[in-house]
Amino acid sequence: MKILVVDDFSTMRRIIKNLLQELGFSNIQEADDGATALPMLKAGGFDFVVTDWNMPGMTGIALLKAIRAEPSLKALPVLMVTAENTREQIIEAAQNGVNGYIVKPFTAVTLKEKLEKIFERLATAS
């Protein structure tokens, strides 16, 4: 499974990458905002996206909307890992088809649980 981790902070990208590797995912690439991520996703081959919300350039929510609007990407699972946790933001993400939402700071266990839940739901749906 090929995963794209999108965050403007290099430390957070590295943390998520390490945790994903610990969970057995080895094919992980990185992007520092939505504008960098979108062409990478359009180029194809990615199976999963983990993105921050608050990034310069293109935000995570704008990236999510762009993914859902793109026919070749609209089914791509997206997990948001963000410090943004207002009710309005969570609702906005849900309405735009986010698959999971993790609030920073988070634990390795939370990441594992959310990933498992997403894959379970996807398996049931297909």
């Binding site: 290099s10 430390t11 590295r14 943390i15 608050n54 920073k104 390795a108």
Partner: protein, 226 residues
């Protein structure tokens, strides 16, 4: 004992002379004169307050402008503070990466130790009864437990580095706020300079006010730096 409401109220303040004059006017001319006098009295208080406000604002902007000229707050201190904030962010990023370097280096070693210990445990189990194999098996079991605990601890250390992302985001927000404040201050100083170079607009319309009132107002405003 007088218990009427009127008895509990404080004595009413006497009416100002202008108002008494206004109320007692016997014809249109004297009413107009009394009304003018009353309005002038009210205007005087208003312009006095406005003049005070204008002088205080003028002084504040003058201080700010001189501060900017001498390389103070807006010109140097704020950009310097932003630069330091940026440095702090870079240092925190480097520190977090240094910690992640360690966790990334040790994580596979802990995994290898756990794997080697497991293999040894199986081999020792096959030699049950041999005192050396029993001891080696016990040591291997301890090593496996230790390696597992290490991996768990290293995972926690990895996640703990997310403090850098969270504090960094706040620092970015503060730096952006400081930049906006700096721009507003500089704009204020620029605006104040522009205003200082142009004659002040008339404080009150020339028509509709008597010459003496306008003069009084001008003199009063001059006292406050208009």
């Amino acid at each position: 004992m007088d218990t009427t409401i009127g008895a509990l109220q404080p004595p009413a303040a006497p009416l100002p002379a202008e108002l008494r004059e206004l109320l007692g006017a016997s014809d249109a001319d004297s009413f107009e004169r009394a009304l003018d006098a009353l309005i002038r009295r009210r205007e005087h208080a208003l312009f006095h307050a406005l003049g005070k406000l204008a002088r205080e604002l003028h002084e504040a902007v003058k201080h700010l402008a001189s501060d900017v000229e001498s390389g103070g707050l807006a010109a140097q201190a704020l950009p310097e503070a932003r630069r330091r904030l940026g440095e702090a962010m870079n240092m925190s990023e480097q520190a977090a990466h240094a910690s992640l370097d360690v966790t990334e280096r040790l994580m596979p070693e802990a995994a290898r130790l756990e794997e080697a210990a497991s293999v040894l445990m199986v081999r020792c189990d096959g030699l049950a009864g041999d005192p050396l194999a029993d001891d080696a098996g016990a040591l291997a079991r301890q090593a496996a437990i230790f390696a597992d605990a290490c991996r768990e601890g290293l995972r926690e250390m990895t996640v703990a580095q997310s403090w850098q992302d969270l504090t960094g985001q706040r620092m970015q927000q503060i730096a952006a706020f400081m930049e906006r404040a700096e721009q507003v201050l500089l704009e204020l100083v620029r605006l104040a300079g522009t205003l200082a170079g142009t004659p002040p607009a008339p404080a009150v319309p020339a028509s509709g006010a008597t010459a003496s009132t306008q003069d009084q107002v001008d003199r009063l405003l001059a006292e406050f730096g208009f």
